[in-house]
């Protein structure tokens, strides 16, 4: 199969106030980008959800819903990958272990018994994306998700949690 021609543009940047209503702006932008890149309907929906989860985390946990602080979102596009980078001003205390601690499956019975209804965002992201990277320091957090443009349906076996520096596109 011939490789998809890289688009003429290679990055898009959006900055939103840390108000959850503006998460919708980013997720709809993600849909436009994914459709433009020829993602299948299923992958568009996966991307939309993963971006929504990452931006919601950044707004709620990174910037504590402080509307004076922006969440930054960048879409980096290459011929075979789309990367979405979400930045906020929060700090993950244990970024080196945070991603590795995300469970592969949820014990919903246990969660319901504990009335634990939140905290599923990272779990969903790891199910939906091809690769993720988390960098965090005193200045903020940078969370990057990679989506292979050509990818088999429902194939999550190629998930690789990268903790090293990004080899950016």
């Amino acid at each position: 199969m011939a490789k998809k021609q890289a688009p003429e543009f290679n990055d898009i940047e959006i900055n939103i106030p840390s108000d959850l209503v503006f998460e919708r702006v980013v997720r709809e932008s993600a849909v436009v980008v994914a459709k433009h890149l020829g993602f299948s309907e299923e992958r568009v929906a996966d991307l939309q959800l993963a971006v929504s989860e990452a931006v919601t985390n950044a707004i709620e946990h990174g910037n504590n819903c402080d509307v004076s602080i922006k969440v930054g979102v960048k879409f980096f596009i290459s011929s075979d990958q789309l990367a979405v980078q979400v930045t906020d001003k929060g700090k993950w205390d244990a970024s080196s272990t945070a991603l590795n601690d995300v469970p592969l499956e949820l014990d919903m019975e246990d969660r319901l018994e504990q009335d634990l209804t939140r905290g599923m965002g990272m779990f969903l992201i790891q199910k939906l994306v091809d690769n993720v990277e988390l960098r965090s320091n005193e200045e903020g957090t940078e969370f990057t998700m990679w989506f292979n443009i050509e990818r088999g349906p429902n194939n999550i076996s190629n998930l690789n949690i990268a903790m090293k520096g990004p080899d950016f596109l």
Binding site: L112, T117, L124
Partner: protein, 108 residues
Amino acid sequence: MALKIDQGNDVTIIHIQNDSVDAVSAREIAGVSDQMQGNTILDFGSVLFINSAGISALLKLVIEARKRGRKLYAVNVTAHHRKVFEMVDMLRYMPIAKMEDLLPLIKA
């Protein structure tokens, strides 16, 4: 109001009329738990997007139904939303059904 609630004989049908079940709409959705009488049917026919904050609101309805020994059903669910519900093991607690299959429940 993004929710339309129909009360029947020992059954409640909640039509979610907002296209997004997310952090913004979650509070309103979770807030209808005290209006759930009998078994409850959630109609997702107008819903285009669901994220984990929205699922959190739905889980609050699941918890309330369980406390009352009642059942919660979902109808008009898209394939992608079904996939997401499966990922978080939601379907054990909120099975997806066809509205016509639930008619006996409504007419009982």
